[in-house]
């Protein structure tokens, strides 16, 4: 009798999800699925709203990376106004985007993933968390919190202390940078840089510790997609789309993000609310691609800060002759390279006199009835596409979020780990942990929009082919 093992919800991933592992009659894993059960519905909710409200509304999609939605929404607004924003506004938007990267990457590594790495996948679940680190790694855990605090300080200095303040608006930003805050923020840089370097050093030690697990953590061929700067450098705020294949060949380049729908489609499956974006020229599901840190560091030609660039070169050596690193475990490495880049780049931008300018917003009427904003959110490329009438009232919205773009790859990763570790007889904590850790490589954000009803225990269900639950475990 074929069986299904359900792991629900996945812990330490923002939002709701469960994993089912499907066994054949012999108890061998034949498939695995990563289900997303929460329907967000923001696209429909936005219809009828004013374009000027969109930044404030869409930033509520996520409690962890609201700034990414804020910036991308403002960029879609820029496109509708058909204007170029002032240099000062662009540089300030860049700083806050990097602050969001720093915050999100720090949370992902220090709080969500490092317990697995420092304590081991087989450690007691009750201790394999950030608090379990306190005994032996207190300073490490504390540094992660302070790094997040630095990111939050930047966001608050620029955007204000109120949550979801629509600081970034179509045409620029609402408030200039307070010169008196510059030195305060710069004083954080040495500690932040030291912490980012420490994290990289610890992660590299971990690579050898997990050399038996790493080959099974999402190690497969796929495309990689992201924005790169016009000269091919690592990009986070603007740029053009690049598509690279699993052998490191650039198969599409310099694509204006406005044309995203020509290149990327969104498939659906009955068993998940999360869409399955794919690269249209290869079709579904062959057009599977990965976005986010692994993709960005793979596809860029260089990074324009010295320490992160040195790390990128080392990272690329993992690829050998293939040209790209195909193993999702190295999302963590790429994420920390970007963390270091964020600190270095924020320092550069804070020292740039242009950020103190007072011309921060260009104004115009509605000049287009359609606009696309694209930026690199911590988890990957984010698209906001709005259609408005002549009064700026939203008629239709399409949001392509980073986590969805990794959906096919996350499913492939779960299947690979399940095939390697599940023997059809029992699921140990260690196996569960590895499956969850496989998903956490992508740091998915499935929505934390209703936290009050979002706290559930870990649940494991064993279901037979008649859909009867024959076993259930709660952690």
């Amino acid at each position: 009798m074929s069986q299904t093992i359900t792991i629900s919800p996945v812990t330490r991933i923002e939002g709701h999800a469960k994993i089912t592992i499907h066994l054949d009659d012999q108890g061998i894993v034949e498939d695995a699925r990563f289900h997303v059960n929460e329907f967000r519905g923001f696209e429909k909710f936005c219809e009828g709203r004013l374009m000027s409200e969109m930044a404030g509304i869409t930033s509520r999609i996520c409690g962890i990376c609201p700034t990414s939605h804020l910036i991308t929404s403002a960029k879609a607004g820029d496109d509708i106004l058909a204007i170029e924003i002032p240099e000062t506004a662009e540089k300030l938007r860049r700083i806050i985007t990097l602050a969001q990267w720093m915050q999100s990457h720090a949370l992902s590594f220090f709080h969500l993933s490092s317990p697995d790495f420092l304590l081991g996948f087989d450690a007691e679940p009750g201790k394999r968390n950030i608090f379990g680190l306190l005994d032996q790694h207190k300073d490490f855990a504390k540094r992660g919190i302070r790094l997040r605090k630095f990111g939050q300080e930047i966001i608050e200095v620029l955007g204000g202390r109120k949550i979801h303040t629509p600081w970034a608006v179509a045409g620029g930003v609402r408030e200039p940078f307070e010169a008196s805050k510059k030195d305060y923020l710069l004083n954080w840089i040495p500690e932040a840089k030291e912490t980012a370097l420490l994290a990289l050093s610890e992660l590299k030690k971990i690579h050898s510790k997990f050399n038996k697990d790493i080959p099974n953590f999402g190690n497969f061929r796929s495309l990689f997609v992201g924005l790169v700067a016009k000269d091919g450098g690592l990009e986070y705020y603007d740029g053009l789309l690049r598509v690279m294949d699993a052998a490191g060949n650039t198969i599409a380049d310099k694509i204006d993000p406005r044309r995203y729908r020509e290149f990327f489609g969104e498939a659906t499956e009955q068993w998940s609310y999360l869409k399955f974006p794919y690269y249209k020229p290869l079709g579904y599901p062959e057009g599977m691609y990965r976005v986010g840190p692994l993709a960005r560091v793979n596809i860029c030609d260089y990074i324009d800060t010295p320490l992160a660039e040195a790390e990128r070169v080392m990272f690329k050596s993992l690829a050998g002759d293939r040209g790209v690193v195909n193993n999702s475990f190295y999302f963590h490495y790429a994420r920390l390279i970007e963390l270091l880049f964020s600190v270095e780049k924020i320092e550069m931008l804070l020292k740039d006199p242009a950020i103190l300018g007072t011309h921060i917003r260009s104004k115009a009427e509605i000049n287009r009835n359609e606009g696309v904003g694209a930026s690199e959110a911590p988890r990957g490329t984010l698209f906001h596409h709005y259609w408005v009438n002549d009064d700026g009232v939203i008629q239709k919205v399409n949001l392509v979020i980073a986590t969805a773009q990794n959906n096919l790859a996350m499913n492939r990763t779960v299947k690979q780990i399940a095939m390697r570790y599940v023997d059809g007889k029992k699921i140990t904590e260690g196996i569960l942990n590895r499956i969850e850790a496989g998903i956490r490589c992508y740091d998915p954000c499935l929505s934390c929009s209703t936290h009050a009803i979002g706290q559930m225990p870990l649940q494991v269900q064993l279901i037979n082919s008649s859909n009867d639950i024959i076993d259930e475990i709660r952690r």
Binding site: L112, N129, F131, G144, K149, H164, S449, A452, Q455, P457
Partner: protein
């Protein structure tokens, strides 16, 4: 004078989920002496790093079930940590403050039961009533505390 911090959190676009923020905003409007107010979408670990100047921290949140208004005080550290949920709970935030930063705080958690968590920017009528009562409760607590401290200070002088 000892200071207090109020943190209201939730999603203000999901109707009653935003009641914690609503309460915090209304407390901020009262300009209570030595009380700082903060709002956020969800709790995150770095909030604990800001607890240093405070001896009292009040966290206000929505709940999906339980009493219409509930107050928990003198909250002990959790006996068992969850297998690490992304959403940091008030108990865990207190633990981070105590164990990582050595901040000793008196934590209270006020929760108001919500009725709808669908998309919407307003509170449902019953929840708005509960929220108003909670503002009064918290304000009264601070006024009593402030009065006691003033009396103590007067006697010492």
């Amino acid at each position: 004078m000892r200071k207090a911090l109020v943190i209201g959190y939730g999603n203000t676009l999901r109707s009653d989920d935003g009641v914690g923020v609503w309460i915090a905003d209304h407390l901020a409007d009262l300009h209570l002496p030595d009380v700082d107010v903060k709002t956020c979408h969800q709790l995150s670990p770095e909030l604990a790093a800001d607890f240093g100047p405070y001896d009292t921290v009040i966290i206000v949140d929505a709940s999906a079930d339980g009493e219409p208004i509930s107050v928990r005080k003198n909250i002990p550290p959790p006996e068992h940590f969850p297998s690490s949920n992304h959403n940091v709970t008030p108990e865990l935030l207190q633990q981070i403050a105590n164990e990582m930063f050595a901040f000793q705080i008196n934590l209270s958690v006020y929760t108001v039961r919500g009725e709808t968590f669908e998309f919407g920017t307003t509170l449902s009528p019953n929840v708005k009533e509960r929220a108003t009562k909670t503002v009064d409760l918290i304000a009264a607590f601070f006024q009593q505390t402030h009065q006691k401290e003033m009396n103590t200070s007067f006697k010492l002088n």
